[in-house]
Amino acid sequence: MSKFRKGGGKELPAISTASLPDIVFMLLFFFMVATVLRKNDVKVAQILPSADQTEKLKKDRSVYIFAGKPGEGYKNLGTEGKIQIGDKFVDVNEVQPAILEEREKLRDELKDYVMVAFKVDKETNSGLVYDVKQELRQANLLKVIYITTQTEDAVQ
């Protein structure tokens, strides 16, 4: 037996963690590819209504309009529904210049196919949304999409 016992009682060798970075890097690359950087800092409440008959948003040709009551950190603005385009709050009569300014950020060849995406909190008055839509009609931006959360069946 002594043949096999060289150097007395050995400790267990340390487990190699060399592959751990590889695994984490793989995760990292997955997230880098599958996600995009946040564009806007949303300053209004955003609990979207749910719907099941939805279509996918074409990201490259859409501009966002956010609406809802002011979110955390903007409570001093009251509880009335507010419109946010880009990074700033706008009034209804400022919607047109603000949305055209946003449109300028799109790629040239897609500017004529611009789609306006409404991300509106579900407790907002629909009158406010209607006003925004009237402004869009005047600006001749007629394609809109109401962003919703996806459910199997919207009516319970």
Partner: protein, 204 residues
């Protein structure tokens, strides 16, 4: 000189660095998964233009009040019955057989007091100013659902596939087959039940 193997470099901190980067990306990015209801707004027309005259029976009026309750064709209605009522209205095909504008693919009741032809049937939604956006979306969703149901039914009858499935596949870019030919078929189905949804000014 004794040959020595190169000492192993301790890679333990590499994992920490990678984790830091990973967490950074987790917080600063989002996975885009926006979906929604697509709608085309009517163009802005001068007010002096007189609107075309629409027969009362070709109009389906949905009114949403401030509490999210529905008044459909002057009758109160539950949200869950709305889709069925809309399907019945769109699919009615009220023009009698033999007359111009007879709908040969409609399977409705052919009531003379409801819509003549799917192309003429118009659904209008009026939501009061103070009604919530959620109820507005739910109504829109149910109405789009009615159109999708009818389009699915017709595309299955004519081509053996569902309109919504195939158009979603084309949207995602995963459709296998001749896309151009299929798009033509989709257009045929679309024109059988064209989406005619309008909104009335809530101030009126």
């Amino acid at each position: 000189m004794a040959r020595r193997t190169a000492p192993e470099i301790n890679a333990g901190s590499m994992a920490d660095i990678a984790f830091l980067l990973l967490i950074f990306f987790l917080v600063t990015t989002t996975i885009e998964k926006d979906r929604g209801l697509v709608r085309a707004l009517p163009p802005d027309t001068p007010t002096e233009l007189t609107p075309p005259i629409i027969k009362e029976k070709n109009l389906f009026v949905v009114i949403v009040n401030n509490d999210g309750e529905l008044l459909v064709e002057n009758e109160p209605m539950e949200m869950k019955d709305l889709q069925e009522a809309a399907i019945e209205f769109l699919d009615n095909g009220g023009t009698p057989r033999g007359q111009e504008g007879y709908c040969d693919y409609c399977q409705g009741k052919r009531s003379l007091s409801s819509s003549d032809y799917p192309d003429k049937a118009i659904i209008t939604v009026k939501s009061l100013r103070e009604s919530s956006y959620e109820s507005f979306i739910t109504v829109q969703n149910e109405l789009v659902g009615a159109y999708n149901f009818l389009r699915d039914r017709e595309s299955e009858r004519l081509y053996g596939w569902k309109y919504t499935d195939v158009s979603a596949q084309i949207d995602e870019g995963v459709y296998k087959g001749n896309e151009e030919a299929t798009k033509e078929k989709l257009d045929i189905i679309k024109n059988m039940y064209p989406q005619k949804l309008s909104e009335i000014d809530p101030k009126q």
